[in-house]
Symmetry: C2
Subunit: 697 residues, 2 copies
């Protein structure tokens, strides 16, 4: 093909015609061309109608302009159909089936070359820039990327504000024309920098006026900053907005370099957005040779009791002048409100051991929590200095004896530089003490001070941490890191990330029931989220007299989240005593797997409802989760996915009078016989949900 | 004293009188007061005449102003006379004798407190700010320090331009009024940022119109940026100019915090500037408990043959697309011009072993030298990946068998962040391979990109590297790091630093003979310099046909530098074959110690000449070094420092017709009998010198 194209080029010189490909199933048609200015452009049709109108492609660098003056110097196409087996996930096998179009662009005066590689799947499009060694320079300094996504109408948008440092926002359901007003409702996080202009983050969800759902995101973000989207509501267009460092540069690139993939998952069936593996497919295969040590897990945490306030603290002492590595902590006066103490941690270990929970996370175990002056000092936490009341050797031995894994916590206060300095020591300390998973945190403004949470340097940092962790056979659950783009395929020790407004916000203003009905359409397309489900006591006044809010959920819905928010590192977030109050409901958390061999999205509408069935990776048991927004609903659960046989379904459901606000703990558990093909009509309370365990008889 | 002062305060309220102290020998008088605006001021007299007129003190922070509104709330004085024994240095014992004045300043609206601690020595003044916990804030963000040094006349200045990134400049001998013109002669280093305005660096040397020599510098720079000096030639005044980060902040401070000491060494005898231990005295005592592993050394290097050009390279391959950690270097085509290869390194080891040289430094041994794109990529060098032609295990064993230590090279390309990430691995790799000293390098613009070479973060970085090195019992010779301020007392594994224009510049334009006549008055007051003496072949065309310059030195002078530029990590910089051409002169390098029990400065005038005698720490042998500028000179060497006895002096001197430019290798070696009290008249050629070994008979 390449040779033929070369001949064609000789014949037609600068006049090479536009090229197009269709997806394997014919649903998508991609056109690529170069416009009168020599700017590469593409457009995308779905089922015969345009979803992306002619949109420009290109990159702006300090050295050279990669947006104009190009002609198509050659193209190549290929069809690929292959499959791969994730270490963990929603499916035991993932099919990677696409048609590929590679467009080589050339320009003169000065000489430039740029390749755009498109992969058109049955469920959408991915494309990336491939920058070969340029004449005279191996290095480029990127200041902008002009990639456009020109939509066709005043579509519905499900969006959060563009921000260089945080994605912990509630989602707005709005339209192009309503976006500006919608974004006015967000207050700025004190230490985060919102992007200027009308800017949103990815993953972004769009529902077209024709009823087509589109998830816009990126895949394999590595060596490049995260992409936000500038929105022009007048033309319904969006343009890539690369997160810059604080000195105004977005990326320092060494040629040859491939950008992340820009992705559009699209379908007129909302369930296809949820089941799509497009983002994972565009990531590189697993780079870790021996993955036997990577083990999905459930865990509890000495965390919620601090997080909900009520005087309990991560800090051991109230001496806010204490300096880790300088102060002798054994001489400080303990504040007596420090849950990360030996006795309390043992209580969690006991509970986990008694209930088959694999791990116990302990926050506030190490020196450095006496104040929270992140950014204002160059060093804050030490990752190998336990507090005096946290008897690490004793707890290590106790946990081992009980068959429970302690999970380390590395809060960096966003001082990534300090973390890198300590990284080997921190991980060695973990291995020396039998830890094999860590929750990392980056709360605050980033150090190095030139950086943002999602600028190129921090994207690199995140990968370094994951790679270094893999060297030590450590699994990672990262909080406040760049939102995931499927890198967990390449580094499956990256079990989970936060990177969105998680369950913790139930203690900071609350998450409406709709919140977990949009996250699977948006944030989760990049990878699993450590959302921390399992909240049984939803009245915040229970934890803290000063708070009168309550979580936007019924108790039964919390069980459903284990299926609708799948993660190989899944928390049971509540306190042991709250689980002891509801042992029959807690049985579901004990039983539910965290790794799946198959998944079937049965019903879905963004921000409204999701019903999903998943098969345990290690048995033939199926688990169904169904959730709704603040409106009651009857989920239609079509059991045709079950193979022939007789089954028993144990249904954890909202009681008839349940309501997230007034009666969240009203649930029922019933067991019924079910069979393949049967349709269950499952009522869900306002803000409610249902969790069903289906076992073959 | 404090109590009496408190009573006084009650009586006089805001009207506490000025306070003054004198140095133990009475030569200095220090006055401290608060002016009408409530700004603390000080002045300094020497032998009855002012050297510093009333000069303001204070710090500007984003949160509060520490420059105005103060009154003296209390003072305290003390006299201290003690001594300490350095691990290595110019003296086996150092006397630390001073009168101390502590001035507690208070201000209201808002409430502020600031202490200034002055130490007045017989050879000068040191003072620092001590910032206690402030009402309401433990943290301050420093944007300026207004410390003034108001001189009295149009004094002579020996200065280099203020720069945030480099101090590798030739020195200007000028005056306040001539400074502006003098600084115009400097071209800007491409990747360094010169300070705006009329700014110079410290250590700065001043010679007053009265003939008083003053070295202005700082001591114990830690947790704070380096200090430059803004110069106002109209008023003969200087003001501290703190190096900012690239976002405009100079320091993030956690209270309580003590700034570095601002130092003024002063005397009407130039020799007192050279012998002063004031900067070391103001540093904290040694923090390393076991110092038995810290061993002064002489070393050679596989370095000069690359540095002088002539096609030889640090890089193994010319494939400038090679990426460390990605590329398989064993498959690259070697360029055949790579001296850091096993065979060549063995040749250096053989030579070192045969001549009692302790160590061999090898540069260009590790992956990453294929291009020099520092700053443009986030990762460059790997510190545990030897090149394919550098057989590290074989060389490790060979060096051990020969009793020679290999010295590691860590060039970071100024990517301090990357170095921190690799630090533990790099040091562990060194210990695993029997290395116990490292030369570090920071050529280029700093990453983190928010930083300069001498901004606070990099000052902290330097200390972290030294501390981490001490953990692994590794000695450090740092290049392109913040210039020294005596921290080698506290961390004696910090054997040497470059931090000035070194001998390497003989291959990049040359150093005039006067250069090494000013460095001991300026740069060396902070600590030893890795100047790399021992250059026997001074014609650059010898190394590289394309170069016609030559070093500003005779051969004999190079021997004298071992005394006039003392360092516990002292290089013999030339190629083995050049030493083999002059074996009788090389004998001096083989003999000369690198650690001393006593030092006597016999003659000195900045930029003109220095004559110094030093006693070997491990014998009763004395060594004299004498150097002159481009003018011939007769050094008067008064041997009264010798204890009673008969001595033999082996004199390595310029031949009568020697001249740095026309006849640099004309030297003579003669042995004469000498006795205490005798005065030797030792001729020195233009750009020449003499080295004398004196042994008791």
């Amino acid at each position: 093909m390449k040779n033929i194209m070369s001949l064609l080029l000789l014949a037609t010189a600068m006049e090479m015609a536009a090229v197009s490909i269709t997806s394997p199933n014919g649903a998508f048609l991609l056109n690529v061309d170069v416009n009168a200015e020599g700017t590469p452009v593409y457009s995308l049709d779905y089922k015969g109608k345009p979803v992306i109108k002619s949109s420009r492609l290109g990159i702006v660098t300090k050295e050279t302009d990669f947006t104009k003056g190009f002609h198509i110097a050659g193209t190549d196409t290929a069809t690929v159909d292959r499959s791969w087996e994730p270490v963990w996930g929603e499916y035991s096998t993932v099919r990677d089936h696409f048609r590929e179009l590679t467009v080589d662009l050339k320009a003169e005066h000065p000489e430039r070359a740029l390749t755009v590689r498109f992969r058109l799947f049955d469920d959408g499009l991915g494309f990336r820039y491939e920058m070969p060694v340029q004449n005279g320079s191996n290095y480029l300094t990127v200041t902008d990327e002009i990639t456009e996504f020109n939509y066709t109408d005043n579509h519905k948008l499900y969006a959060i504000p563009g921000d260089y440092d945080t994605d912990e926002y509630l989602w707005s359901e709005t339209t192009f024309s309503g976006l500006e007003d919608a974004l006015k409702n967000y207050h700025r996080h004190s230490e985060a920098q919102r992007a200027e202009g009308l800017t949103v983050q990815t993953p972004l969800l769009i529902k077209t006026t024709d009823g087509v759902y589109i998830n816009a995101h990126e895949a394999a973000l590595d060596g490049y900053p995260a992409m936000l989207l500038d929105v022009d509501p007048a033309t319904y267009s969006m343009k890539s907005h690369l997160v810059p460092d604080r000195l105004g540069v977005s990326a320092y690139l060494q040629m040859p370099f491939n950008t992340p993939w820009r992705t559009l998952i699209a379908s007129d069936d909302a369930r296809d957005i949820l089941s799509s593996q497009l983002v994972l497919n565009l990531n590189e295969p697993c780079k870790i040779e021996d993955t036997s040590w990577i083990k999905p897990m459930k865990f509890m945490g000495v965390w919620w009791e601090m997080f909900t306030g009520n005087q309990k603290t991560w800090a051991y002492s109230d001496d806010h002048l204490a300096k880790p590595g300088v102060t002798d902590y054994s001489k400080l006066t303990p504040n007596g409100r420090h849950p990360a103490n030996t006795e309390n941690v043992k209580r969690y270990i006991d509970f986990a051991a008694a209930n088959g929970i694999d791990g116990v996370l302990v926050e506030g175990w190490n020196e450095g929590w006496e104040d929270w002056a992140s950014y204002r000092k160059n060093r804050q936490f030490l990752f190998d200095k336990p507090y005096p009341d946290f008897d690490l050797p004793a707890l290590r031995d106790y946990a081992k004896e009980k068959g429970v894994k302690l999970i380390m916590h590395h809060e960096t206060a966003a001082n990534a530089a300090d973390y890198e300095l300590q990284l080997d020591r921190a991980f060695q300390f973990m291995k020396d003490n039998n830890y094999d998973a860590v929750k990392t945190g980056y709360v605050g403004a980033i150090i190095p001070r030139s950086e943002h949470h999602t600028s190129q340097w921090m994207v690199d940092h995140a990968r370094h941490v994951i790679e270094r962790a893999a060297d030590y056979q450590i699994m990672v659950d990262s909080h406040e890191a760049p939102r995931p783009t499927g890198l967990c395929r390449t580094y499956p020790n990256w079990l989970a990330q936060e990177s969105a407004r998680g369950g913790e916000f139930e203690s900071m203003g609350g998450n409406p029931p709709s919140h977990t009905c949009i996250l699977p359409f948006t944030r989760l397309k990049g990878g699993p989220m450590d959302y921390t489900p399992g909240l049984f006591e939803t009245r915040m006044s229970y934890y803290n007299e000063g708070k009168d809010s309550q979580a936007g959920t019924t108790l039964a819905r919390q069980l459903a989240l284990y299926m609708t928010m799948p993660s190989p590192m899944q928390m049971a977030c509540d306190l042991p005593e709250n689980y002891e109050r509801f042992p029959d409901a807690f049985q579901f958390i004990k039983d539910v797997p965290v790794d799946w061999s198959d998944s079937r999205y049965l019903e879905a509408e963004p921000n409204r409802y999701i019903t999903v069935a998943r098969r345990d990776k290690h048995s033939d048991d199926w688990y169904v989760g169904a959730i709704t927004d603040e409106n009651a609903r009857v989920a239609e659960i079509d059991l045709s996915f079950l193979p022939d046989g007789k089954y028993e379904a144990k249904i954890y459901e909202d009681a008839p009078d349940a309501h997230w606000k007034d009666n969240p703990q009203a649930y029922r558990i019933r067991t019924v016989k079910v069979k393949p093909g049967q349709k269950l009509r499952q009522p869900l309370a306002p803000g409610g949900g249902a969790a069903i365990q289906i076992r073959k008889l």
